[in-house]
Symmetry: C2
Subunit: 425 residues, 2 copies
């Protein structure tokens, strides 16, 4: 990040509103210290460029805010796209826990996390909220790898101490977390986040300790909530005194509210009481449509969350989601919302493309602060998209080009990528 | 295609059974005149290779039968990935009919169909059942373009004469079809297929004429069936005397049975009576999961069709499906089957990866004859898949590599492709 002002030019598209796209053909973004100072029309930008401000001109390419992955498991990247035949609890036992156990070996961690960090760098994601494993050294290394690549991330050393293999059981309690927090240096873009795996994996003592730590360090929190019917039943049996699954976090101060920004992934089976609490505490819902299909979990009522003003973003949830691409998260969110409307609840209309794009930009970006819009005061997180590999027999509008890029494009369409004003791809 | 025998070597995987994968590490395929004569173990193949038979060795790459796209609209390729906000009937009017009208202009057709044919050539599809438009010259040109690329296809000049723009209304009745059939030369791999668009677009007279032509030329038939609730209601209103939508085709001899191989796309809302007729007449169901999500149609009960022994294959249904990739059709079929199991009918278990692969190979391949297996007597339709761009931190099994290729791979993983023994990519 440099304080020197800069102009970036191209075809700008973003969500000034949640439900509609704003476009600015051959517009300019004026940035300083990594922050957007102004969005300028072609004429306005020309005038400033003539004053000698540095220009990066991307021609007819499309510039949009960077995409935010609100839920992804770095250690599971290694087996993404395999083992897609089980539901959540069996899938954790058969595939996930054995894989995560390997990260005790730092050579394996180095190899696997380098592949993950490179994958994320090449993807359309600029910021991500990431689960690591319980292992402190591997988690610290993952954070370094992300920082080296200039990506923005919250990374969580996972906390878990019951109903899991011994190799993944936290034996040192909260002290391992303190160790991790102490050893991570300050970093402008990569920060720690408290990460209880989910209620079934955490004893009351562990959750209590996490709550204490949260209040001491004012750290954000991420976890899973009401993903699968069997999981919801399990939590009921484990915590009979908690009113809902969400309350089992909330009673330890790990469920949003003042000074405790929190993300809960999935929320497919949240009861009315739980939804009330999500709303009251302004907990972020990480909607993970691909994962919810692959593990036969179901489809979350995103439209209802949006209507209630609950903050919502999208997550790939690799490796229950097989693809690290947020393009897929956007189009999958639209597709499953259509199926939910048709098969479950005709009162909740499907998501439109602008709405799903909003979820992936400003929706999740809000967890990171002033992120996810092309507007003054916002971090300059940008994707430069190139669709020359997607021929068409006639001229398409900017909006058509963008929709097509999301439906058809892979990492190769991400020509350049900026995080807080710095080009990282 | 050459009569000279040849050996092709690599890691072979296919469905000897519908529900399980068979693998042969570093196996050999012995072919002659484009047809597989034998599948050979490493040792058996070595012996024959030493006799001087030509060898194409693909090393550690994976070889599987070619994928069959049982339902795709060539003229819609031009707008794939755009306009994903409407249901079927409105979508046809707003996007599809205006686009298809352009194919009256042969320059446009040339440009657009060349892009489609190149797209299909680069994709994992070896054979396809294709809808063109009503226009004879453009349809003939499409057939040539496919033939030049060595692909296998049934191509249909579309028949429609009601409830559509004038520019797409067949005015010459059956004589235009005769003209088309007469002008298409014999071709070993690209053949005509009768293609009434769907009942709402066809008068009784047109369907009657198509039935007569079918019996005269013994041509196969393709159309759409019970895709969307509003469409099903419309057909009820248009054909009150037909017992089901399917019967509206059947009474003209356009719905399977002896000497009339037929594909019906979708079958999402087929009633028990219609399903009985599909079974009795052994009509092929082209299951198009991506399309059915994009147009909010629903999810077809594929498991039920398989249990009844109804022939089923997969279709991309571009452009209601946005992706031309049969990899996506396979993984989408698995995903929506899981959602259907969860949300609609717990008595119909989801599709497994081997089952979905079977649908895309032998399932659809059966429409083309001896196609879709690695077995003696079958056409040598092959994909050579390369996964070196998909790194993993540890060694994966062949089955894991293949599953991952389908979930994560794009066209670039199709290293080579054979149709009836001839390398076409």
């Amino acid at each position: 990040m440099t304080a020197t002002p800069k102009l970036i030019r191209g075809n700008l598209i973003w969500n000034k509103e949640k439900t509609a796209l704003t476009t600015c053909e051959r517009g300019w973004i004026y940035i300083e210290s990594g922050v957007i100072r102004a969005i300028l029309s072609p004429e306005e930008g020309e005038t400033i460029a003539q004053r000698g401000v540095a220009v990066e001109d991307y021609g007819e390419r499309i510039l949009i805010p960077g995409l935010v992955d609100l839920h992804v498991h770095a250690p599971q990247y290694a087996f993404r796209g395999t083992g897609m035949d089980l539901e959540l609890l069996d899938w954790l036992e058969a595939y996930t826990f054995p894989e995560e156990s390997r990260y005790d070996d730092s050579d394996y961690g180095e190899r696997a996390y380098t592949q993950f960090a490179d994958g994320l760098k090449n993807s359309p994601t600029t910021r991500a909220c990431i689960f690591a494993t319980i292992h402190v050294p591997a988690t610290l290394r993952l954070m370094e790898l992300l920082e080296e690549r200039g990506l923005g991330a919250y990374v969580g050393k996972v906390s878990m101490d019951r109903d899991c293999p011994d190799s993944l059981r936290e034996t040192e309690g909260i002290s391992a977390l303190r160790d991790w927090l102490t050893r991570w240096k300050e970093s402008p873009l990569v920060c720690p986040i408290l990460t209880p795996r989910f209620v079934p994996s955490c004893t009351e003592e562990l959750l209590e300790g996490l709550g204490t730590l949260q209040r001491e360090f004012r750290l954000p929190v991420q976890s899973h909530l009401s993903e699968n019917p069997a999981e919801v039943e399990l939590v009921k049996a484990l915590c009979p005194e908690a009113e809902t699954y969400g309350h089992a976090y909330a009673r330890h101060g790990l469920f949003g509210g003042e000074g405790c920004p929190t993300i809960m992934a999935h929320c497919v089976y949240s009861s009315p009481k739980e939804i009330e609490l999500l709303e009251k505490n302004q907990v972020f819902v990480a909607h993970c449509p691909q994962s919810n299909a692959n593990l036969a979990s179901g489809i979350a009522p995103v439209r209802e969350y949006l209507r209630r003003g609950i903050p919502v973003g999208l997550g790939t949830d690799v490796a229950a989601g097989h693809s690290l691409s947020m393009f897929r998260a956007v189009t999958d969110a639209i597709q499953v919302s259509k199926l939910r409307w048709r098969l479950v609840d005709p009162k909740l209309p499907p998501l439109s493309f602008p709405e799903a794009l909003w979820l992936a930009t400003r929706g999740g970006g809000a967890f990171f602060g002033q992120v996810g819009l092309l507007a003054p005061g916002f971090d300059c997180d940008l994707l430069v998209l190139d669709d020359h590999d997607l021929p068409a027999p006639r001229k398409l509008s900017l909006e058509e080009r963008l929709e097509r890029l999301f439906y058809l494009g892979g990492d190769q369409t991400v020509f350049a990528k900026y995080v807080r004003g710095r080009r990282v791809k």
